[in-house]
């Protein structure tokens, strides 16, 4: 329950159902990154978490972070993947069963009364979500490209550009 435990400044949070075809992209990315972290002794400044779905308690996992990267499957993003900057957004949907990353940021702000850490969503192009399906071949290819994008640090370079743009817009 203690959120003051030692935390890495960067959190990569993947989510999805491993038994739902391409919905497994999130947890599959988690496995790749976890293996890479163990074998390479890199990603020291990164905590890795995964879950089926985003929920309100995940707002606690965002505390004491410099950056947060959510990783999810998407049927609407361009292949192979897309990085977006997130803004907190309250979720008033009719079901309590799923949350967007933006709404998790909103919960963070609600319970902490301060801005959430800078957060980004890496969506990986997905195609099929049937229960019991294997991940599609194309989704697997997209996964590997997205994995390289993360471990090479390109995503960190890209978010700096987001930050610059944000700064410029604030100045304007």
């Amino acid at each position: 329950m203690n959120s003051q435990e030692a935390r890495a400044p960067v959190l990569i949070f993947t989510y999805g159902n491993p038994s739902r075809g391409d919905d497994a992209l999130g947890p599959a990315m988690f496995e790749l990154l976890e293996k890479h972290k163990l074998e390479s002794n890199k990603l020291d400044e990164v905590d890795l978490l995964t879950d089926f779905q985003l929920q309100i308690e995940h707002a606690v996992d965002l505390e004491h972070r410099r950056y947060v990267l959510f990783v999810d499957a998407s049927v609407s993003c361009p292949a192979p993947f897309e990085l977006q900057q997130l803004q907190a957004e309250r979720d008033d949907s009719f079901t309590t069963h799923s949350m967007s990353p933006a709404s998790v940021l909103s919960v963070y702000q609600q319970i902490n009364h301060r801005e959430s850490p800078p957060a980004y969503l890496l969506t990986i192009r997905a195609y099929e979500f049937g229960l019991g399906l294997e991940m599609s071949t194309q989704a697997q290819k997209n996964l590997l490209l997205a994995y390289q994008y993360i471990i090479s640090g390109q995503w960190l370079d890209e978010i700096k550009q987001f930050d610059c743009k944000q700064h410029e817009s604030n100045v304007i």
Binding site: Q55, I56, S74, D91, T95, H97, I111, G130
Partner: protein, 496 residues
């Protein structure tokens, strides 16, 4: 209990109103309202397309994998499926009883699951229109005033959920995809350090749970008549109870009572549930429609979940929850509480009970015992039933001589509430739709009615809810004559 509106006369002459949340993948719900020539809603249908493929997913797998495998069915309550499957496989391995350590750790896990699930509703109390909806400014202002006196709700809701998740992690071994329950028992007990870790916070957790019940009572009584009447329908109710009639979530007999509280059946051995519950099929829904066999398809539908459980039980074994149960039941003046919005109240009484029960279990030395598993002669089938957060959950499996699942039958909580949800929506729709122009009030109130049951609409996968609700009005010729879209920000646009 009449479902006369379910199959309206001359549906081809009705206008069709479709409320459809758009989701990224399948697993969405859709509400279809059919309007008759007199402009009243004659049919209401909640479509849930997700409940298909469960049995096929399970068939062909070895029975010993079931408790882990079935967690993949639901991203919201995997522990419920985990434990129901574990109970079924207990039967298959001939474990008529569990060791005290195994049973108590499973119960602890289940209390943790129910606590974390119900805590979400406590969290949403800080957004009263999300749970209760409002159709006038005065009512809204009063409720918001109550909430403003409790600015800590959001934080407490998150931390209650977090505590429930920690109970699950400690008892199942992992934050997700835990393997705690296995056929015939469990695979690990708790260490003294783990018990102490959970004990550190439990007093605070109970205090917050007490506060949650007090808060929802204030809200409910603030607009008592409205909350009592909203989407209220007279139904039978079914739940599990202990042998002495007490409240039970993990193991007991089945009890059903009619809308006046008269017994339909009681203390039924759940392994014989197919003698008492049947399912009908409708051509417009993937989800089946269970009914109590003795009452027939037309009259036999029922409700499950917190409202049914609190109505049906004779008492809670824990003192704080029992005090709250008595107060809750008093508003029925001897009859079951039928208010659909009372689901939220009942849910938080259960939350309080779970915190008390967790505190009791954490003092039990059996939690650190070493006798983890029983087994006997292998059986060809097994049935496991538990009370999941949303209601009674049935798992039934039949295996071949190699232990491979040949047949799997599941009735999930939301399926049990299927007809009742339709009836609640229909009542609300008739109250709020008059004419052929859609209104924000209708959209909101339909959502409120659905949300009270907390149906599992996105079972097993997550859905990006960027456009959570779309409301279309189509006339009998298929022509779209009105449409409302509600976005995640709450903004509602007329898009025609």
């Amino acid at each position: 209990m009449s479902s006369a509106l379910e199959t309206a006369e001359n549906p081809q002459n009705m206008k069709r109103i479709v409320i459809e949340p758009l989701t990224r993948v399948e697993g969405h719900g859709k509400v279809t309202l059919l309007q008759g020539k007199n402009r009243n809603i004659r049919q209401a249908r909640l479509h849930i397309t997700e409940f298909r493929g469960f049995e096929k997913f399970i068939q062909g797998r070895p029975y010993w994998e079931l408790p882990v495998l079935v967690q993949r069915l639901c991203g919201i309550c995997p522990v419920s499926h985990h434990l129901a499957a574990a109970k079924a496989t207990d039967m298959i391995v001939g474990a008529a009883e569990l060791t005290p350590t195994a049973e108590k750790i499973r119960r602890l896990m289940h209390f943790g699951q129910t606590l974390q699930s119900h805590a979400l509703h406590f969290f949403h109390l800080c957004s009263p229109d999300l749970l209760f909806g409002f159709d006038d400014e005065v009512r809204h202002r009063n409720i918001v005033g109550v909430i403003e006196d409790s600015p800590e709700i959001a934080t407490q809701g998150v931390l209650l959920r977090k505590f429930g998740q920690e109970v699950i992690r400690v008892t199942s071994g992992k934050r997700i995809h835990g393997t705690g329950a296995i056929p015939g028992g469990i695979n690990k007990s708790l260490s003294k350090d783990e018990v102490r870790y959970l004990q550190e916070d439990i007093a605070q957790i109970i205090g917050w749970a007490q506060g949650s019940v007090e808060l929802i009572k204030k809200i409910f009584f603030e607009q008592y008549d409205y909350h009592l009447a909203f989407a209220s329908i007279e139904t039978s109710m079914m739940s599990m109870v202990r042998a002495d009639g007490g409240f039970e979530l993990y193991h007991g007999g089945l009890r059903a009572r009619d809308f006046e509280g008269n017994s339909i059946f009681d203390h039924i051995d759940y392994t014989n549930y197919e003698d008492y519950i049947r399912e009908s099929v409708k051509d417009w829904s993937y989800m089946k429609f269970p009914f109590i066999t003795s009452l027939g398809e037309e009259e036999g539908w029922y409700r499950v979940g917190p409202l049914a459980r609190v109505n049906n039980c004779d008492f809670f074994s824990t003192p704080l929850a029992e005090v709250q149960r008595k107060e809750f039941m008093a508003i029925g003046d001897g009859l079951p509480i039928q208010s659909t919005l009372a689901y939220h109240w009942a849910r938080l009484i259960e939350l309080l009970h779970c915190t008390e029960a967790i505190a009791e279990l954490l003092c039990d030395p059996d939690l650190i015992g070493k006798d983890l598993r029983n087994k006997g002669e292998l059986q060809c089938c097994g049935t496991g039933v538990i009370e999941a957060p949303r209601g009674t959950l049935f798992h039934h499996y039949e295996i071949d001589e190699q232990g491979i699942v040949e047949k799997a039958s599941l009735i999930v909580s939301t399926t049990n509430n299927n007809q009742a949800m339709n009836e609640s929506i229909r009542k609300v729709a008739n109250q709020y739709l008059d004419g052929h122009r859609l209104s924000e009030a209708l959209l909101n109130q339909v959502e409120v009615a659905i949300r009270a049951y907390d149906p599992c609409l996105s079972c097993a996968t997550h859905a990006i809810g960027k456009m959570p609700m779309e409301l279309n009005l189509v006339d009998e010729h298929g022509e779209l004559i009105d449409r409302l879209e509600k976005r995640i920000t709450g903004q509602i646009n007329r898009t025609i």
